[in-house]
């Protein structure tokens, strides 16, 4: 009898301890490369984090650090978050990759999530979005809307993610307009309004009347508005304040569902290291509303393309496609595999200029 009571009490105690542990708040950390009001990339991660926070309410504690430089300072920011008791930390810029891997080694119990990188570990997952699917829609719109047949493209860094976007946009612009030319300017920054505005102005002066950007600020839109008769696309965020013109559509990153899923996994103890690459179908990439500046038939054409990508009926990298030097990349009907796309470092046939080396 005594023994049984003892067992019952200890079971009760264990049960209590279990619930106490479960009620312990999960602490979630975020670091951003830019300010949380950059109007683009970092702001969207921040807003998605806020949606996630709202979803869980008091069940989690959220800590954030903005404008974290890529390099030695990243490692310190991540370490301090881990030391402060974070259970999971999201590192939301490509340049945070090596520091994330280094810090993760020192804190095997903390989970790390790195956006857009390719290095993983037991406790490091990577996640990214198939922005190139959205770029295909932008390319179609750009090819249809241009009068001068010159399309400007503000690149950030010549990394695969950006090159994929250029290739995808170009392929789909050429499909609807065989005379189209792309001019690419490399800004070598993710966020620098002054440089981005300069790049946009330079492209407009070279005759571009549609500007695509892979940088995060709204400065190119302001430059386009000033020049008049130039169309732009929102990047990472909707940038609807420049609609209906110059901004005629946008690619929106929607990270909130992923953040909710991953934090939930930490709560449930089911978190595992994995690589996630979501596109239009999973909702990670969204096409911002196509504005009234675009004629209805072109809009319908763009929406049809979006739907065929979303349903899986069409892949933006479907052969026949040649590399810039004319050699065959994808044969008729062949679809690029994810491995090739992840490391894509060449232009497709028809693009002028070189990928900086």
């Amino acid at each position: 009898m005594k023994r049984r009571t003892f067992l019952a009490t200890s079971a009760l105690a264990l049960g209590l301890a279990g619930t106490a542990f479960a009620q312990d708040k999960v602490k979630v950390g975020f670091i951003y490369v830019g300010p949380v009001n950059d109007g683009g990339w970092s702001q969207h991660h921040h807003e998605s984090a806020m949606v996630m926070k709202e979803h869980f309410g008091d069940a989690i504690e959220l800590v954030e650090q903005e404008s974290v430089p890529e390099g030695a300072d990243t490692e310190r920011a991540l370490t301090q978050m881990a030391l402060s008791g974070c259970d999971i930390v999201f590192a939301t810029s490509f340049g945070f990759m090596d520091p994330t891997i280094n810090v993760a080694k020192k804190f095997p119990k903390v989970k790390f999530e790195h956006a857009t990188g390719y290095k993983r570990a037991e406790n490091v997952s990577t996640y990214s979005a198939r922005f190139y699917e959205g770029r295909a829609v932008q390319g179609l719109l750009a090819g249809r809307m241009t009068q001068s047949n010159v399309i400007g493209y503000i690149g950030s860094f010549p990394i695969p993610e950006v090159i994929r976007g250029i290739d995808s946009a170009f392929i789909h612009a050429r499909k609807v307009n065989p005379d189209v030319q792309f001019k690419v300017v490399w800004a070598n920054t993710w966020f620098d309004p002054a440089k981005e505005a300069d790049a946009a102005t330079a492209l407009i002066n070279q005759g571009a009347d549609v500007i695509l950007q892979h940088t995060d600020s709204t400065a190119p839109h302001a430059a386009a508005e000033k020049a008049g008769n130039v169309y732009t696309f929102g990047q990472a965020a909707d940038m609807a304040e420049y609609a209906p013109k110059p901004r005629i559509s946008s690619i929106i990153d929607n990270w909130a569902p992923y953040y909710i899923e991953r934090v939930q996994a930490v709560m449930d103890g089911t978190w595992e290291s994995k690589d996630t690459w979501g596109g239009i179908a999973s909702g990670m990439v969204k096409i911002g509303e196509i504005s009234d500046a675009v004629p209805a038939e072109i809009r319908d054409e763009a929406i049809a393309l979006e739907e065929s990508i979303s349903s899986g009926a069409y892949h933006p990298f479907t052969g026949p496609l040649n590399k810039q030097d004319g050699s065959v990349w994808l044969a008729e009907g062949e679809v690029a595999d994810d491995g090739t796309l992840a490391g894509l470092n060449f232009y497709v046939e028809g693009l002028s200029g070189e990928v900086p080396k």
Partner: protein, 361 residues
């Protein structure tokens, strides 16, 4: 009525007291700023100045980080202070820092994967030489053509940044990096890595070099003829010329020394904490070091303390950012206040406050 009356000579008491007072005033004004943002000002100040040193949770990590952050600041500021004392204004330490890092990393990448004892010493020499050579451009232009060294050295920063980007994307790009910009990670190349000398101490060769530079600058300024000439030129250029100081020689020495030290700082950073040449490798150490030099009163020991204080506001500021959800801009404003109050209070070093009406002479 308050009047300012020029002191016959700068007050020794105020020279020492203004930095302390400036820190105190920064805490008060910063506290007001934080309170206006709806944060607990006492908690914020405690997190910035106290937690990195004494909080059990963080201190064991952030104390060594203070050295990592302060090392390059002190090394660069010591070099700058020599020139500033003589009225030679090198504003381009950031560029010399970049070129030093590129020169040193270039040696390492050229020798990769050779494992030999001389790799790191060669990198150190190349780093110092690179910074020195970059500083020689404004120095020679000044001595030969009387150009303004402030403008030339500052503008060369932007040239250096372009070279850095070109190197990270081109010549120095990691051939095994999958097309991504940035060089090989030197931390993974043992012969070239500037690792911690004692584990978890934060002490790497750059920190050692900073301490050596403090001592060397102290000896130079107080015990050496050259140091006397530097101080004399700063106080009275005419008197210096009568005393036989060669002004051109002094320009070459001061800019060269500060360039070499900035180059060394870059080399130690690229081979240590940063690890690789990347497009945005430079984080503004060269500019922050100017604040550190003045905060330390252009005095080697003062610079040592000022560098550590500046590092503390960086690391504490980061903690405050994510613990209290303070915006990054508030921390930068806080650091800016420090320099503002210091320069403002400097008036008291050179002037005396007088209450009441002007006496009739």
């Amino acid at each position: 009525m308050i009047r300012l009356e020029k002191r016959p000579s700068p007050s020794r008491v105020w020279t020492a007291a203004t930095p302390v007072l400036a820190v105190a005033l920064t805490m008060v004004a910063g506290g007001v700023l934080f309170a206006m943002l709806g944060k607990d000002p006492v908690a914020a100040i405690r997190i910035i100045f106290w937690d990195p040193l004494f909080n059990e949770q963080f201190a064991s990590y952030s104390r060594p980080q203070l050295l990592v952050k302060a090392g390059p600041l002190i090394l660069i500021a010591i070099g700058l202070s020599l020139g500033f004392r003589a009225g030679i204004w090198n504003i381009g330490a950031e560029g010399q820092y970049i070129i030093g890092a590129l020169s040193g990393a270039g040696v390492a990448l050229a020798l990769y994967p050779l494992e030999a004892w001389f790799v790191f010493p060669l990198m150190v020499i190349a780093g110092g030489l690179g910074g020195w050579a970059w500083a020689m451009i404004p120095a020679i232009l000044k001595t030969r053509f009387r150009t303004n060294e402030i403008l030339v050295s500052l503008l060369l920063v932007y040239v250096a940044e372009q070279i850095l980007a070109a190197m990270a994307l081109g010549l120095m790009r990691n051939p095994e990096g999958g097309g991504f910009p940035g060089s090989r990670n030197l931390q993974q190349y043992p012969a070239a890595a500037n690792t911690e000398l004692i584990a978890n101490s934060g002490m790497h060769w750059g920190v050692v070099a900073a301490f050596v530079a403090v001592i060397a600058a102290y000896v130079l300024l107080n015990r050496h003829m050259l140091g006397f000439q530097i101080r004399l030129t700063g106080q009275s250029p005419r008197a210096a010329r009568f005393a036989g100081v060669n002004p051109n020689g002094l320009v070459l020495f001061c800019l060269g020394a500060s360039g070499a030290l900035a180059g060394l700082a870059g080399l130690f950073e690229v081979s240590g904490p940063a690890g690789q040449v990347s497009i945005d490798f430079n984080q503004g150490y060269g500019f922050t070091a100017i604040i550190v030099a003045f905060l330390g009163r252009l005095n080697p020991v003062g610079i040592l303390l000022a560098g550590l204080l500046m590092a503390l506001t960086y690391i504490g500021g980061e903690l405050a950012q994510f613990m209290l959800n303070l915006p990054a801009a508030a921390i930068q404003a806080f650091q800016g206040m420090l320099l503002f109050f210091l320069l403002g209070l400097d008036v008291l070093t050179n002037y005396r406050l007088r209450w009441g009406k002007r006496e009739i002479a």
